[in-house]
């Protein structure tokens, strides 16, 4: 809901490969815009101040906090979310190993964690468990106690190496 005099800005970007041109209120966060205006509810809103990692989205190839970037800043950028139909082999492998290892319970943090883990696996083919922990240190999970998540990322890395 916007009032008539809400400052807005015209943006053009791609979301999961689809070109989008629209006008956004300048104070709307990227994740709010994706959820409420684009209709992609896979990126979640947890803390809204950059602590929990539930809102991760990928902007021009880098994982960022969707709550700490404004939608207007997506102008000219390529945005990818967990819903991306062109999900990389890494994301698909992670989704599979998370499922197999039951590395989620409520699933609220899972999209953010998978995107961050995929970024790690893009840079490091054979991460140590310590590296996995460090890479995921910016994501909160209140259900699993993290062990299963680390196991699942470890397993996905092995599978991507063809082991």
């Amino acid at each position: 809901m916007e009032t008539i005099d809400e400052p807005t800005f015209e943006i053009a970007c791609t979301v999961n490969g689809t070109a989008v041109r629209t006008r956004v209120p300048v104070r709307r966060s990227l994740v709010d815009w994706l959820r409420h205006d684009v209709g992609l509810t896979g990126s979640h809103i947890g803390c809204e101040h950059g602590v929990c990692g539930a809102c991760h989205v990928v902007v021009d190839g880098r994982v960022v906090r969707g709550c700490l970037m404004l939608a207007v800043q997506a102008d000219g950028q390529s945005i990818e979310t967990i819903e991306s139909p062109s999900a990389s082999a890494r994301i698909q492998a992670l989704q599979q190993t998370f499922f197999e290892r039951a590395a989620l319970q409520c699933g609220y943090c899972t999209p953010g964690i998978i995107l961050q883990a995929a970024e790690l696996l893009a840079e490091t083919q054979m991460p140590t468990r310590e590296q996995i922990r460090e890479a995921l240190s910016g994501s909160y999970c209140r259900c699993t106690g993290y062990q299963a998540i680390i196991d699942a990322v470890d397993a996905a890395a092995a599978r991507l190496r063809g082991e």
Binding site: G53, V63, L70, V72, G138
Partner: protein, 293 residues
């Protein structure tokens, strides 16, 4: 938790940004990485009338060497600085410090200039920049000026940067190969703000400390060189325990630590001393291991 209303502008050149700062400076906030500003907007702790987004200013994120000195543009993102080979070879301390800064997704967005301009007392980069004796270049419509890092941080979240000034870049002079650097800190969890962090640079000549620089984050309201502690180490053999004890004693006298319920001043001094003691001990071990190289 949504920001109060603001006007959003996105200049594409430095002069355009300076023009906006000249007319709106005190009512405006610079939006760089947004990793501290946006939470403050969401909490409505900050309510600027205008956000000046500097992310589209070309070249403001450069990392290059000029006349031997390393220049890092204000909007260079932490992850780029961390990855940069130039930073690795010219200012390895920054890389060591950055490993402790927040988490991957935050580093993908947060900027060097943003961290310096905010001057959070617990932030690692201001202490590193002071330890490196770097120079910070500020510009306004009036003039451009370079400020020594130590004069830049003037207090709690306070810097020498005026309301109409924009931080352009940081300049780090070259160090000869005898210099060694280390960054170490104590934080409750990796990536959290430090209870105390030490940026330490030391120049060795034949296993003797020839020169050194000590700066902390998380201890005082702003980072500065701790000259009494530095003085106690200068000239000492690197494995001389007595000079280590003297330096830690000097720290306890010299530091004016912040105090909070969960981390009283005395405790911060103890952590700071332990960090310095360990850093010098580690250095002595490495030197005896490497011999004279």
């Amino acid at each position: 938790m949504k920001p109060a209303r603001f006007e959003y502008v996105r200049p594409e050149t430095v002069p355009a940004a300076l023009e906006l700062l000249a007319s709106h400076g005190s009512d405006a906030a610079i939006l760089a990485g947004g990793q501290s500003l946006v939470p403050m907007l969401n909490f409505r702790i900050a309510r600027p009338h205008m956000l000046i987004d500097v992310n589209r200013i070309g070249g403001l994120d450069r990392i290059e060497v000029q006349d031997g000195a390393l220049i890092i543009g204000a909007s260079a993102r932490h992850s780029e600085v961390l990855r940069s080979q130039l930073v690795h070879s010219h200012a390895p301390l920054l890389r060591e410090g950055l490993k402790h800064v927040a988490h991957a997704a935050i580093r993908n967005r947060g900027t060097l200039g943003g961290s310096l301009a905010l001057a959070d007392p617990a932030a690692e980069l201001p202490a590193c920049i002071v330890c490196l004796d770097a120079e910070i270049t500020l510009a306004s419509r009036r003039a451009e000026r370079a400020v020594a890092a130590e004069n830049f941080f003037t207090g709690l979240y306070t810097t020498a940067c005026a309301a109409d000034e924009l931080l352009l870049h940081v300049r780090i002079r070259p160090f000869d190969p005898q210099w060694r650097f280390s960054f170490s800190e104590v934080a409750r969890r990796h990536g959290d703000f430090a209870l105390a962090g030490l940026a330490f640079a030391v120049r060795l000549a034949r296993e003797r400390i020839d020169d050194c620089r000590i700066a902390f984050c998380g201890v005082e309201v702003a980072p500065r060189r701790l000259r009494k502690a530095e003085y106690s180490l200068n000239g000492a053999e690197v494995n001389n325990g007595a000079s280590r004890v003297a330096a830690c004693g000097a720290l306890a006298e010299e530091l004016e630590p912040m105090s909070s319920g969960d981390c009283p001043a005395e405790y911060r001094i103890r952590i700071a001393s332990a960090l310095l003691n360990d850093a010098v001990e580690r250095l002595a071990r490495e030197e005896s291991f490497h011999g004279d190289d």
